[in-house]
Symmetry: C2
Subunit: 377 residues, 2 copies
């Protein structure tokens, strides 16, 4: 393995100058810099990560959990997006197993104690999640993918998250169908009080009401519940059509349910079916679907962890300085300005490029709701 010394010798400078060329090029004289860079190129030098980590006490590594059974069809694409984004920042992604919350916390302890990780991405968080409490108690850096549904205040500065606005996605689908002349649009969602599920259903409900496509009483007729499997989707579809044979479109909360619906309908039907997650399965069946912007989500996940890490570092550095509070935790600005529900009124601004919705003009950089796109066929 070629080390910084080899490069230094090759370029005829000291190891420190080589280091500077890499970590702080501005302070090196351009002539020397090109000299050194040429040597780096020639020797194909890459700094040793362990040595750098040991020296800087930063691992530049994000950890994300992997469960015994996949909790979502988008998990692999999410991992890929995260790895891609992290890679662009020189950050590695390491996996840890999540057999239970308790086991997961044990993994946290291990990873932290060994200095293997400096931030965590948490998935599938629940109301009063012990992992969140533990990480905050131990002053660790983390970010959730998915909102902490059920928390009284979803915009606490201590609990940053990135999520995809399922409600807006389903609202988009609904509007799209209305524009294409659909009159009686049904919805099949998940039963129970799942935050994600209720949020998506609300996207349909609200849009239907706003467009005066149905009365609240009619909406109840147009709505069905189904567990997340194909058979349940079929059953719900049949029940729905039985009650309302005039239906001309069915919006489903997931691609799995949409698959059941599509297969329950006669092949020559005019009824449009839509799904959520834009899985390969939905694609091969030609089902339009709401696609989560995973690259954008990954970008925000990495950004938030890095910003908070920086803030924590600054905080530590300012510990001896006097005016710590003034410069510290810039990411908290406006964090408490959000609403308890995380609602995103349609009138809010959207920067278009990232599809990020900002609340009330006061950007909350620690709680990011991304707008999904509609994958039509």
């Amino acid at each position: 393995m070629v080390s910084i010394k080899d490069v230094a010798r090759e370029a005829g400078v000291s190891p420190q100058t080589v280091s500077n060329c890499i970590n702080n090029p501005a302070i090196v004289k351009p002539a020397t810099r090109t000299l050194v860079n040429a040597a780096i190129e020639r020797l194909n030098y890459t700094p040793n990560a362990s040595a750098r980590r040991l020296r800087t006490q930063r691992s530049n590594t994000i950890a994300i959990g992997i469960a015994p059974v996949s909790y979502s069809p988008i998990y692999d694409p999410l991992l890929h997006a995260l790895v891609t984004e992290a890679d662009a920042h020189g950050i590695r992604v390491i996996l840890y197993k999540t057999d239970s919350h308790q086991d997961e916390i044990r993994q946290f302890e291990q990873l932290i104690a060994r200095g293997d990780v400096d931030a965590f991405v948490l998935v599938n968080t629940t109301h009063d999640d012990p992992r969140i409490a533990w990480l905050n108690e131990h002053r660790q850096t983390f970010v959730l993918f998915g909102r902490p549904w059920g928390r009284a205040d979803m915009h606490e500065p201590d609990v940053p998250w990135v999520d995809v606005d399922g409600r807006a996605g389903i609202a988009d689908v609904t509007r799209h169908l209305i524009l294409h002349g659909c009159k009686h649009i049904g919805f099949i969602g998940w039963p129970g009080l799942s935050g994600t599920g209720m949020d998506r259903r609300l996207g349909w409900r609200q849009t239907m009401l706003d467009a005066r496509m149905a009365t609240p009483a009619e909406l109840d007729q147009l709505s069905e519940d189904a567990e997340n499997d194909i058979i349940a989707g079929q059953t719900a579809c049949i029940a729905l059509l039985d009650r309302r044979p005039d239906i001309d479109a069915i919006i489903c909360v997931s691609d799995t349910i949409a698959t059941g619906v599509a297969l329950a309908l006669p092949t020559d039907t005019d009824i449009t079916v839509t799904g959520f997650d834009n899985t390969v399965s939905a694609q091969s069946l030609g089902i339009p679907s709401v696609a989560q912007p995973l690259a954008g989500a990954a970008r925000e996940l990495v950004r938030i962890t890095q910003e908070r890490l920086r803030a924590r570092l600054a905080e530590a550095a300012a510990g001896n300085g006097a005016d710590a509070a003034a410069t510290v935790r810039p990411t908290d600005a406006g964090a408490s300005g959000g609403t308890a529900t995380g609602a995103t009124p349609n009138g809010d601004t959207d920067d278009g490029k990232t599809g990020r919705t900002t609340l009330c003009g006061e950007p909350d950089r620690d709680h990011v709701l991304l707008t999904p796109t509609l994958a039509l066929r």
Copy 2:
């Protein structure tokens, strides 16, 4: 962070003694050892991974790729199994992105140069895979999950792999159906020359012939091809039943196709459908399925990488010594004894516990074929 010095002070010994307690307990006096262990416990000490890696020049890290789109429904469970097994050996798993073979090789270069990784798990390998050639040229340690189909010799010592014996799995299913009185057992497989697909089909064919359940001509009638989606499964099912209305069981090469078949059949049918991979989807539909032994596969993947790493280390150490060749590469023993096809005759031994099939009594530790289990409903 608590370091080895803190423990040493706490226990009233030198840092080296603490180090010995951890890495070579045998040479420490029992009394001192318990003293030190108590201090470690009390301070909750864990050695810093970066420092250890820097010192030992071993990363104790395995890398596995993640593709933009999931190539298999078992990938998440595989990752979980791998992380679990690695964890038990004090090894970490890091992800790298695999956008193309060329990109993947670039990732290899990065990971190696930074000293982040000392072994790779390769998935989805193809005939004449450039990654395999590259890794061997650069003397890197790796192991494939899945056989290198299409290679002239699948038992080259340079190309170790772990795979699940799809043929045996499908043969098991076939025998099971025969035992339960099925007379006319159809098969729906993938079109084309996919090694995995052909192997699974062969499991059915051979078992049918051996049991005299059909003539070769009949087998052609009982066989269909389908792309790996639900609709194709439905279509193939209909074609099959059209040709052979007397069919009483349909074995499918995948759960996706099995799903299509199950949905194409009338609800009151007596025809049994089986799948492959035992996905949650198949489970919720009540489809019996062949389950891959992923924990066992992970165990073998880790074992092979570690053995080969050890061998490589010994080789390097013996570089100055004289009789290098004698002790080096113990894992190669019998490696060339396999057959070109990787066929596993039914009479071969099986150690039962791991479900591992050994070839001709000569264990080939670098080419492991695991026997899947049948998940009945």
